[in-house]
């Protein structure tokens, strides 16, 4: 990771100021001021590098108004890494001016020290009822009193018992065909333990042994994104040590942000570290999103592709199909006769599980839509895998929403500091979800899940929100 802001000059001058970022920046869409779009941020950073400007309060404010959603990066004709540059600017601010007290406390004392974090979360779990009340439809909770949070903000309650404390370090299966380590991340550990449980159950069902190292800590993304590289590096080293100790080829994540942090950001952060640079790369190469792991299992088939193929062979829809796709691969024995879905219920006995992720076992009759988390789709480049999984579940009607990969407005701590803008961005997402008529919104990131649930509650939309693996878990467990 480059040390100073000035070292990013070569990157910022690659911005040709074409303004293409205006068409994709969610913050700009709301604010419309030139300083609130990627081009503006990059130019302001350039002004600081050129000493035309300083690290003023105004500069700090503009730098904080970035969701780190990478939409501008993906859309930039010159490929300017705007997110990295903004992060470097935030780091420069921290380096020169230090962290505000609350952030310092949270980043350097709580997140960095697992036992403090654990203790705080246990206390929080016990006493949260005093400061929060239940949200509408029994989902989530709302602040009872001013906390520096917006009082309309629906937060998910802390789980009574953290995820990691509910499981042994090794979740064994008989005749395991694979062994993976699970990086839980904080939100799954302390809030959405149901997602964590689904990850473990689904992996178990597929004959995979899951190691959940007890000593893992926060991935460090919130710390790094806010510019505290020092703490982020410490946290990276700690996690690298913990996970490289395990005898596994794969480290599974169920959160795009944690995943990207482990897979790529550690190596960037520690590029100059003589010991950890290599280790970070080694860990990075093992990281996979849970949906990547599942679709790569032997026996997993994409339902859509199979249906196409059935139709091709039936001769009912040969004309007008695109050529040269995977459609021409040989038909698998299981799907001959089109009886795949009918065969589903009979495959409930556990012997079949070893064949990998067979078509999931039971019908789940939901209309489902999917939201692409920024760091999953543009970070880990995971786009098709969750859709393949959702579509492969019998009974599910999958509807794509408009612009599924537009940011939900969460941006992690962005939603705490800029709740109004964050909520406005979220309104568009909620509208797109409503348009689909879906009963369930599936996504692959806990922060998105919380923010979208908040938006749905504000707009009184009765849509359930869950992680992709939870839907899959339902398909395994329903009727049991």
């Amino acid at each position: 990771m480059k040390q100073t802001l000035a070292s990013w000059e070569k990157e910022v001058i690659r911005c040709i100021r074409c303004g293409a970022c205006q068409s994709v920046c969610p913050v700009f869409k709301e604010l419309q001021a030139e300083a609130s779009v990627a081009r503006g941020r990059v130019m302001l950073i350039r002004a600081v590098i050129n000493k035309d400007s300083d690290l003023t309060d105004g500069f700090r404010e503009k730098m904080s108004l970035c969701l780190m959603c990478k939409a501008c990066v993906a859309n930039c004709p010159s490929g300017v890494k705007v997110d990295k540059v903004v992060e470097a600017a935030r780091a420069e601010i921290v380096r020169k001016q230090g962290l505000p007290f609350l952030k310092r406390l949270i980043f350097r004392f709580v997140l960095k020290n697992r036992w403090v974090f654990n203790f705080a979360m246990r206390m929080g779990s016990a006493f949260q009822g005093l400061v929060f009340r239940k949200g509408p439809h029994g989902q989530g909770m709302l602040p009872r009193m001013p906390l520096g949070l917006d009082r309309r903000r629906l937060l998910a309650p802390l789980a009574p018992q953290s995820f990691r404390s509910q499981y042994p370090e090794v979740v064994k299966v008989e005749d395991a065909k694979k062994r993976v380590a699970f990086f839980t991340g904080c939100m799954i550990n302390y809030i959405y333990t149901d997602t964590g449980r689904a990850v473990v159950n689904v992996l178990k069902r597929n004959g995979i042994e899951v190691v959940i190292p007890a000593l893992q800590n926060c991935c460090g993304a919130p710390v790094r994104i806010n510019g505290d590289y020092e703490s982020a590096r410490d946290m990276a080293r700690a996690n690298i040590n913990v996970f490289l100790r395990e005898q596994v080829d794969t480290v599974v994540v169920a959160c795009g942000t944690c995943g990207l942090t482990l897979k790529e950001e550690y190596a960037e952060l520690l590029a100059d570290d003589p010991v950890y640079a290599e280790k970070a790369k080694k860990l990075g190469a093992k990281v996979q999103d849970i949906t990547e792991v599942l679709v790569s299992l032997d026996g997993f088939r994409d339902k859509i592709q199979d249906e196409f193929q059935d139709k091709l062979l039936d001769g009912t829809q040969g004309k007008g199909l695109p050529f040269n796709t995977e459609l021409s691969r040989p038909k698998s024995p299981a799907s001959i006769g089109g009886g795949r879905q009918r065969a589903v219920k009979s495959s409930m006995d556990s012997t079949n599980i070893q064949r990998g992720l067979n078509p999931p076992l039971n019908e789940v009759s939901f209309k489902v839509t999917y939201h692409d988390p920024c760091h999953l789709v543009r970070g880990l480049k995971v786009k098709e895998q969750p859709r393949q999984i959702i579509r492969s579940i019998p009974g599910v009607e999958f509807v794509e929403m408009a612009k599924p990969d537009t940011c939900c407005g969460s941006g992690g701590s962005f939603s705490l500091y800029h709740y109004n803008i964050s909520a406005k961005i979220n309104d568009h997402k909620i509208e797109d979800i409503k348009q689909t008529g879906a009963e369930v919104l599936v996504t692959g990131c806990s922060a998105c899940r919380m923010h979208i649930a908040d938006g749905l509650s504000r707009q009184h939309a009765g849509v359930k929100v869950m992680h992709t693996v939870q839907l899959l878990e339902m398909a395994y467990e329903v009727d049991r």
Binding site: E9, I16, G19, S23, Q32, R39, A47, G79
Partner: protein, 462 residues
Amino acid sequence: MKQEIIQRLTEIVGQDNVYTSLEDLYCYSYDASFVKSNKKDLAGIAVYPGNAEETAKILKLANEEKIPVIPRGAGTNVSGGTISVGDSIILVLKRMNKILELDRKNLIAVVEPGVVTGYLQSEVERLGLFYPPDPASLAVSTIGGNVAECAGGPRGVKYGVTRDYVLGLEVVLASGEVINTGGKTIKNVTGYDMTKLFTGSEGTLGVITKIILKLIPKPEAKNTMLAVFSELEQASEAVSEIIAKGVVPATLELLDNIYIRNIEEYAKVGLPTDAEAVLLIEVDGDRQILAKQIDKIEEICKQSGAIQIRIAQTPAEAEELWRARRSAFPAVSRVRPTIIGEDVTVPRSNIPAMVKQIRAIAAKYKVIIAVLGHAGDGNLHATILTDETDREEWSRVEKAIDELFIAAVKLDGTLSGEHGIGRVKSKFITLQTGEAGLEIQRRIKQVLDPNNILNPGVMFGK
């Protein structure tokens, strides 16, 4: 800026629609051109009016106080036409973003200036209609900016440019008076053609607050082909021959060897890297005639010596051919950090001569200049690949650009096909207009904007 003026402007547009912080104002000191105003040239305020009435009030105040006003849309122009000039008002029209009418019976759209061109196009196309001008920035640039700059685009060869679609305007003058030009009819010879005068006036004569646009029926279908030539002259001859034979493609894009090599390296689209020219050709119209057009073009390209011809059989294949063109920019942006796109334009038949000139200029000043052109209309984008932090190289780049302009005019061309004169090319304008030609334009400006508050410095220099 005086606090009192800021106060009065705030009263006109509301607190939420003014920006005065240093950081905000800094972001109006540049646009998509390579000029940038100095720190001392930061504006005093940026205001976002919501309608023509507010715009009129702002201009009246500015005129009384003799404060420069810089009208601005998305700030995507590449001629330095929307940057701050010291204690000035940046007038951003983006809040005025409504499509007021889409009239199918009369094939007309009435829009506010802040409507994004690409959005207008998609709305129009939903009704089976078509608004053809397609500047590269259309996903973000505003229709008001397109009219003020008379934007073009690849489809110019067949469909013309923005000017050809503007039927009427509502314009706020520097005095704050509001006038209407043209109207909703195709034929209209009442008085001087003021609509054409304001179109392409680059914000120097008035502020456009409403636009009446002509629409046409949407072409039924399109098809794409790609032809590779070992010599540039062959490609150029093919272009002339295609049009002479009565086939007018919707786009005719030319890529030179520097682009070809970089695109191939970057995107692996299967182009021979020793080829001197690639033509990407798109035809559109009734389904029945497309195949015939393609056959004709194929034959002409073969006769002109094309070494490779690829014709898309499916939309996916067409997409693949366009991928070469779309990769052009990212491909060359890896070469050097700074990219400057010029847009000198010459009569079609002079393209080979102009490209030769560009090569000679590049060699003389030891700079990299790639050429990508809308070959059908002679509009060449000479793309200078450089590094703006290298001062010595930068001075050579500036000299090279100066010579490009002179060369284009000598070849019966123009300084700018579609980017505008702005602040970048004002010192060259008399090369083309002559002294008397410029003087008469100056006098027109004087009548409409006696205090020279509207975009001062643009077109006429300082």
